[in-house]
């Protein structure tokens, strides 16, 4: 930690680092323990969040886990088992086609989200109109929980609730808030009125301005939103679980069967596949100017 080097500096959290005394020289417990306590809470939280992830990743290469920590490194058997490599028969066949199917569904949901999310994000950021706040709230808050939407789809499209098209459409509406929020965050850091007026002044139509000036300027946000909605759609479980009936098994159901029915080390390998996908996504998100798996964008920094 960096404190101690800048001893008498005033801190905006209200603490000074001049020991446990405030400016007026009174002893104050919150000056003495406040900061270590808050930093400690952050550390405990991060440990709680990260230790099981790292442990799972490590365990996926272990051959035995009976003690406190997994042991017997390094083996790829768990990964081979999870992916069904080298197995000719049994329920593990078709993992590959399931993964491919999920990639297709997630990509479909993502593309649909670009066409749906970017325009509405622009409308609520750029223009002022009657009902703007309501439309905004509707676009950035999930409309219904996945499981409730699943019941609704079963009732409305009984024959097709589990079809690829139905899954794509549902993933799109369930995850669209993430696209809208990310793109909005990008738009908010741009001077939209000026961009639009410059485009118009140079003779471009409004539509052309939107497509060739506004959208390319927000490409960081659109990319980040695409990655986030893609990942979330690829692992969507609640809706998928309720409507799935037959055909290739989506990735989230593959995870579920591993988590509930496989030995813990095989399950660890299956879950690690997903961790690797998310890690790649977070790294790409950092690269395109985001701050991790969040919709907040700080392009100006």
């Amino acid at each position: 930690m960096t404190d101690g080097t800048d001893a008498a500096e005033l801190r905006t959290d209200g603490g000074t680092t001049t020991g446990s005394r405030t400016v007026l020289g009174r002893f104050d417990p919150s000056a003495a323990f406040g900061r270590p306590l808050v930093v400690g809470a952050l550390a405990v939280t991060l440990l709680f969040l990260l230790v099981p992830i790292l442990l799972t990743l490590v365990a996926s290469f272990a051959s035995d886990w009976t003690g406190i920590l997994p042991a017997g490194f390094v083996t790829l058997d768990n990964w081979r088992h999870a992916l069904g490599i080298g197995l000719e028969v049994g329920s593990r066949r078709g993992v590959g086609s399931g993964l491919a199917f999920s990639v297709l569904l997630a990509t479909g949901g993502m593309v649909l989200n670009i066409f749906v999310g970017v325009p509405i994000a622009y409308a609520v950021t750029r223009y002022d109109f009657v009902g703007r706040d309501w439309i905004n709230a509707m676009a950035i808050l999930p409309i219904a929980p996945g499981i409730v939407l699943g019941v609704a789809f079963l009732k409305t499209y009984p024959q097709y609730a589990g079809s690829a098209l139905s899954l794509i459409v549902a993933y799109s509406i369930l995850k669209s808030p993430f696209m809208v929020l990310t793109v909005q965050s990008s738009f908010q850091s741009m001077d939209l009125r000026q961009l639009e007026e410059s485009g118009r002044a140079l003779g471009a139509s409004w539509l052309r301005t939107f497509v060739t000036v506004i959208v390319p300027n927000a490409k960081g946000g659109i990319m980040a939103g695409s990655i986030i909605t893609w990942i979330l759609a690829a692992a969507e479980f609640n809706f998928t679980w309720l409507v799935y009936s037959r055909g290739p098994k989506p990735f989230s159901l593959f995870l579920y069967s591993n988590i509930t029915r496989s030995p813990i080390l095989t399950a660890a390998a299956a879950v690690s596949i997903y961790f690797l996908i998310v890690t790649v996504a977070v790294l790409v998100l950092q690269f395109v100017g985001g701050t991790g798996f969040t919709t907040v964008r700080r392009e100006e920094v």
Partner: protein, 304 residues
């Protein structure tokens, strides 16, 4: 207004006409707004409004496979059957308790990230955001990794106090589920609050400080009032998320909650009308709760 004569209907017709054939710049702007919002509303109609309406109709339908006849039987069952009352109570207290803890922890986490110069801040935020990408079933697995029978905490505890790991495992208790909820919710609440924190006026905090306020006083009297909209927003978002969690409960199976019951109704005998009735109540409750919440803050504070 566009017209001076006639009924509201003809006024509406004029407005619709103006949308298609705009005459003024204001008309054109209206047309743009409608065109920009249209794709979203088309998708929402097909994927949300229509299905939700059909589900609402199914909840009062006599027929199982087709929506025929009218009955309030399923809502009556939900109200009178003690099983459903218990589920409602469980769902509400559990979501409220996990939300309260998550928002409280979120304030601390956001404070530490935004107010202190911590090393590797970008890395810390990225790590904090990672769990948002994890579906509920994976979160349940991570809790099993910690608190299950062969879990890290379970076996460490067994080695320390000398007990049987099987009796010390807490993953499938209500406590385990509580931790699983916190795992999903804390990153969400913390990131909403972090957005609010970045807009806090530092001059006021420094002024309070130089006037002799302690860090705790500064936080309570200066910082807290400024982050209050963020706290409300994070409460709304976190509570909504807590209500929608399903995969975690399905894997851990330790408390009878509404989402689990919906799947139970579908899987056991296809009681689709009861499931639909629960769904309608769920939807109405979340809508009303969000509406009330937004009276105290603006939706713009919501960022994840």
């Amino acid at each position: 207004m566009a017209t001076t004569t006639g009924s509201p209907l003809s006024a509406l017709r004029t407005r619709a006409y103006r949308l298609v054939y705009p005459r003024t710049e204001v008309d054109r702007e209206h047309r743009r707004v409608v065109a920009l919002c249209l794709p979203f509303f088309l998708l929402a109609t097909v994927a949300a409004f229509l299905p939700m309406a059909t589900m609402a109709r199914a909840s009062v339908s006599v027929g199982v496979y087709e929506n025929v006849g009218w009955t309030g039987e399923f809502y009556r069952t939900l109200v009178s059957d003690p099983v459903y009352r218990e589920i409602a109570v469980n769902t509400l207290w559990f979501a409220a308790a996990t939300t309260l803890v998550s928002v409280a922890v979120g304030v601390g986490v956001a404070h530490a990230l935004e107010k202190y110069d911590l090393p590797f801040e970008r890395g810390l935020v990225a790590a904090l955001s990672f769990p948002i990408a994890l579906p509920g079933i994976v979160v349940a697995f991570l809790i099993v990794v910690l608190m299950g029978r062969s879990g890290l905490v379970t076996n460490a505890l067994a080695a320390l106090v000398g007990g049987d790991p099987f009796s010390l495992a807490t993953a499938t208790t209500v406590f385990g589920l509580f931790l699983a909820y916190l795992y999903s919710l804390i990153p969400r609440s913390a990131l909403v609050l972090r957005g609010t924190y970045s807009e806090v006026n530092q001059d006021a905090e420094e002024a309070a400080q130089s006037l002799g306020a302690s860090p705790l006083q500064t936080f309570y009297h200066v910082t807290l009032p400024q982050i209050r909209p963020g706290i409300v927003a994070s409460f709304i978002l976190t509570f909504r998320t807590a209500l929608t969690i399903f995969g975690t409960v399905l894997v851990l199976q330790n408390l009878s909650l509404a989402t689990l019951r919906i799947q139970h109704e579908i899987a056991n005998g296809f009681e689709v009308q009861t499931a639909a009735a629960i769904g309608v109540i769920y939807f109405a409750f979340m809508l009303g709760f969000t509406y009330l919440g937004l009276q105290y803050t603006s939706a713009e504070v919501t960022t994840i």
